[in-house]
Subunit: 285 residues, 2 copies
């Protein structure tokens, strides 16, 4: 299967990311339908012209004709959906997802899935601190990374289709990682940063502090506005890797604390020079 | 003294902030001169038209005619400058600064200063991860806060002049804080965030991680590109407050760690809801 405009694309879960996918795919001339739980989200998406059709029912016609199905659901709901409804999928369909953790779901879904349907996992790293289809205009794929996460069970053609999808959506970079590398990377780059932001926002509450803040505090806590239902699930789904990264961070933080306490200025400066050197790699080109 | 275009304004230290002050003040029609240590910085500033005259000498004519002197130096260099050169200042001059810590310098300078010169401390919260006069175009005062930090020794007229300076420079908000409130606030909002960014950047070095990062890691580590000479001095100058804020953060971070480890999902969500609620106060209006 090649990504082409004859394909019927179905989005299951019309939230922030599902809605963003729909928007771009429709703009590019693809046929897009949606299944989601709230009628208002369908109505909104139809009004905005970001889907061709949509339903809150398990509509066997809409689901059964889809060649490419994109699941944009919470991890456990995605798993439940496949358990209960996979019989509705078209034979030969390829399904993909947007889930932020992989180890806890990919093998489970690939193991239970019908042999005539293939699941190729993907993670678009373009979430935002808002949620819901109404905010999907705020998502920007152009500066974001799209990670395809294949396993031994995946075919080349599905991996290619998934990469093409990432490119078509306009992501700056489409890359491949194994399930384990993905989850370790995400624990460090995404989940740990959310843990830090939440902890920082919880640890102090100086009256009027919002009037004295510079950009640094604002930048560090932007993601402290967090969807607690989704992120608590993502954290627990990646618990071992995340706890490990939290321990690494704490060790580094404690080292800096000890150096400041000991007035070890050269030691402090050494850490700062290392951080400066490493951070340069992350400058957007 | 009122801020008016007849005043001779002198900037001592033509770096990122000194250069930014000069730029705005010249644009608004003030007479601006500069004393700094490198001739290239003077040449650059003259070429760019952001100062009227400048010197790397301790020029008694330039220094002696200044009505308002803005010190944009590292804390210990500021203190040394006053110790050695305060005899050059004009009688009746008002001096101010841009230093990021106050307790360690303000009383010291006010105690040693000639009685006919007044020092009113200020902190423009508009630093950047770059340094040097060549980058001063990247500093934006429009979205930043300017904190005036008076003590019992200050006169109303100097406090007012300093506030006027902040307004003239175009800061979004001009506020007043005591020395102690300022240093505690800064320890939390600015220094702790820099400690976190440096620790985060030092704690891990996954190969290729820059290719998989989303905005959150980038935002949290922007300030990990840090001027180690300046910040190590600022940290040590505010050591007690900073260590205290680091302990608070670690307590909060450990609490989240324990909840994740115990799979206490409701406890995690409670922290996330608190952080979300508190963070809303910081949204730029």
């Amino acid at each position: 299967m090649k990504l082409n405009k004859e394909l019927n694309i179905l989005i299951v879960g019309l939230g922030l990311l599902g809605g963003s996918y729909a928007t771009v795919l429709k703009q590019k001339g693809f046929k897009v339908s949606a299944v989601t739980k709230n009628q208002e989200d369908i109505d909104f998406a139809l009004n905005e012209g970001i889907i061709d059709e949509g339903t809150i029912e398990l509509d066997s016609k809409i689901i059964g004709k889809a060649d490419l199905v994109i699941f944009a659901l919470y991890p456990h709901i995605f798993v439940e959906w496949i358990e209960k409804n996979q019989s509705l999928l078209k034979s030969g369909a390829i399904i993909t997802d947007v889930t932020g953790v992989k180890g806890s779901i990919v093998y489970k879904i690939q193991d239970m899935l019908r042999p005539d349907v293939e699941f190729i996992a993907a993670h678009p790293m373009a979430g935002r601190e808002m949620s819901g289809v109404r905010h999907c205009g705020g998502v920007d794929f152009v500066e974001a990374n799209y990670i395809v996460v294949p396993t031994d069970k995946n075919t080349h053609k599905a991996i290619e289709l998934c990469c093409e999808l990432g490119e078509t959506l306009g992501f700056k970079r489409v890359a491949e990682l194994s399930v384990e590398s993905h989850d370790k990377m995400i624990a460090f780059l995404s989940q740990l940063t959310h843990c830090i932001a939440v902890s920082l926002m919880c640890c102090n509450n100086i009256s009027g502090m919002e009037y004295y803040t510079g950009d640094s505090f604002r930048d560090l806590t932007r993601i402290a506005q967090i969807n607690d239902e989704m992120w608590s699930e993502l954290f627990l789904n990646n618990k071992d890797y995340l706890l490990n990264e939290m321990e690494c961070f704490r060790k580094s933080f404690d080292e800096l604390y000890d150096k400041i306490k000991a007035e070890d200025r050269e030691g402090m400066r050494e850490m700062m020079r290392l951080s400066t050197y490493r951070r340069k790699r992350f400058d957007k080109k």
